[in-house]
Symmetry: D3
Subunit: 135 residues, 6 copies
């Protein structure tokens, strides 16, 4: 009797898409304005989905206070008001596409979350572009 619980969070960050093995022209051809050298930015919206059994004592899958705190401590505080390329260790050698950011967040939270839960991360780069891992 598995049920999913979802919690929304958000962070505002700067980034640029860039592959250091490519010429500027190749980067521009593939990434368009997203490779603009001085960065641009987004209001990222995050939806964390946790699947598990309802605990009959609490009526909850996981205590939202704990989940919110975990998202704040391990994701928001690390990414919010940061330059993903320059300030965040995880993107020193990894291109901060929505796909890669989503995957990095999944790995960060997977490590914190009790293994009895399944975890899915949805990340909105804009209201029109978003990704989800695992698919």
């Amino acid at each position: 009797m598995k049920i999913a619980i979802f919690r929304k969070a958000n962070f505002n960050a700067a980034h640029r898409l860039y592959n250091p093995d490519w010429t500027h022209d190749k980067n521009l051809e593939v990434f368009g304005v997203c490779t603009s050298p001085n960065f641009h930015g987004h209001n990222y919206d995050l939806v964390v989905k946790v699947v598990g059994e309802i605990d009959p004592e609490t009526g909850m899958v996981i205590n939202l206070k704990d989940l919110s705190r975990m998202i704040k401590d391990y994701v928001e505080d690390r990414f919010d008001h940061k330059n993903l390329n320059l300030d965040v260790e995880d993107f020193r050698t990894l291109n901060p596409t929505a796909e890669n950011i989503c995957f990095v967040i999944w790995n960060i939270l997977r490590e914190q979350l009790d293994e009895k839960y399944e975890l899915t991360i949805r990340l909105y780069e804009t209201p029109r572009n978003f990704v989800e891992y695992p698919a």
Copy 2:
């Protein structure tokens, strides 16, 4: 060739989270302000997902007029402008967490819906906290 159809509905209700087997302090520790004794409330948004085959005569999985009527008669009329803890039979002995409300609604509609359809319920307690059954 299965397709899903979704219908949104909503109800406004009061509730509190509370486990009668626990002390007040234990309730406060687990549920925080959600256990506030005189109740608080939410605009609950409900998304009913029905999966089935397209009927070639109508081009529909299920007639939305019938589905909307079912949601109104069996969910909205039962929960809207009610105190879930005091006014709704289902929560006399069941803690009205989002998880439990979602599960109760699933059971109510499952009984009404032709068994050829699969049913999933998503319930938003706030735009940032929501649940889905089955996961």
Copy 3:
């Protein structure tokens, strides 16, 4: 050169509409299900609008950190996860309609806000019903 700055906030509360000078039938006739005796509730969304001059040193009308803190301390902490009729002094003798809640919040914040600013409060009881003071 006046500019407006807006800050959204929210609180979840229970309430009922009720005039103690009226019979139950009269209350039911005027307020419908909103007078339901055991309360119902809403996710109230609040938009605080402050109008003033841009301070050339900061580029701001008012520091959002200060405004957010004021809204949290004087509105959210007072109304969130409360029963407006039973727990909030302001509604002991005042019917907690959206209009009256909006007017009460305006008075609370007006007292805190430097008089050089103009103040307008918009309050959403649901996404479809909302009020604004002053008009």
Copy 4:
């Protein structure tokens, strides 16, 4: 290591629901006001979901510029500001219910999209009524 990428698009179109094998009364009974003879219309919102592996060179599942272009060329240009029943070949003999429009769009894009990707289409007829194929 599959990840999903989503892209939102939209088109504004007129339609009516109608089964030519039925009497007017039967159409009215099943489709209600949706069979109104002179058409009505909607702002259709479309969410295209593509599942695949992240390309390590780009950090992307699919280049959004290519996906957006495909949606524009094959869906938006074909459906936007059109009368689905009269102007769009696909609905000459197919009732333009949300279910059928969704299925038609899936077929159109499935043909364009590299077969290494999985494809899902969600179509909103209104914010309260939407469908998804495959379920």
Copy 5:
């Protein structure tokens, strides 16, 4: 001590923009795809704003039940699931632009609403294009 109350409503309709005094080419030049001959359509969202004093007996500016009923009877029933150009008297000789629809709705409701209230109509043709009368 004036306060504003807002009520959202909606209707789904077909229309086309067209000036009968112009050639097809002139219509196309001015209205673009919006003059497409077989019509297209929209989910129109309507926000009715009524300004007045709070009645101390009810705590309300106007009873929302009465306002909702008025909007349903005089606007939604007249425009919903209609072809504005063909089915609605008001647009027999008036081009159904968002501006004109908004002005027509204002006139309809102005006639129904007690003259002690001020009335403003906001009409969304899409989430990105909307109008308001009076300005």
Copy 6:
């Protein structure tokens, strides 16, 4: 008989808040994380409001095709996927707070727009923080 027409647009940009006349500590005290040295960013949403008379020939206040083009050419192309502090002339010596960005956009469009129209700009930095000029 003035009516308002609104058009939404958006741009994604990086920025930081910073007063060069202040110490780092003073900047941190006033702007908090918004002064983070390597920039952060936002999905800025823009609402352009134009007030005028309805042209009886077109039924429009202003042709939306012209207004959209003006916003694209003079605002979106200038600000989208840019670093406001480094790439945009207007903010070389002006702190890119929401207030100042809004005022700069108003000036840019005021110069392009026929003087018979009134112009108001609303700028969302996030869904919870926004500004409007003139107030």
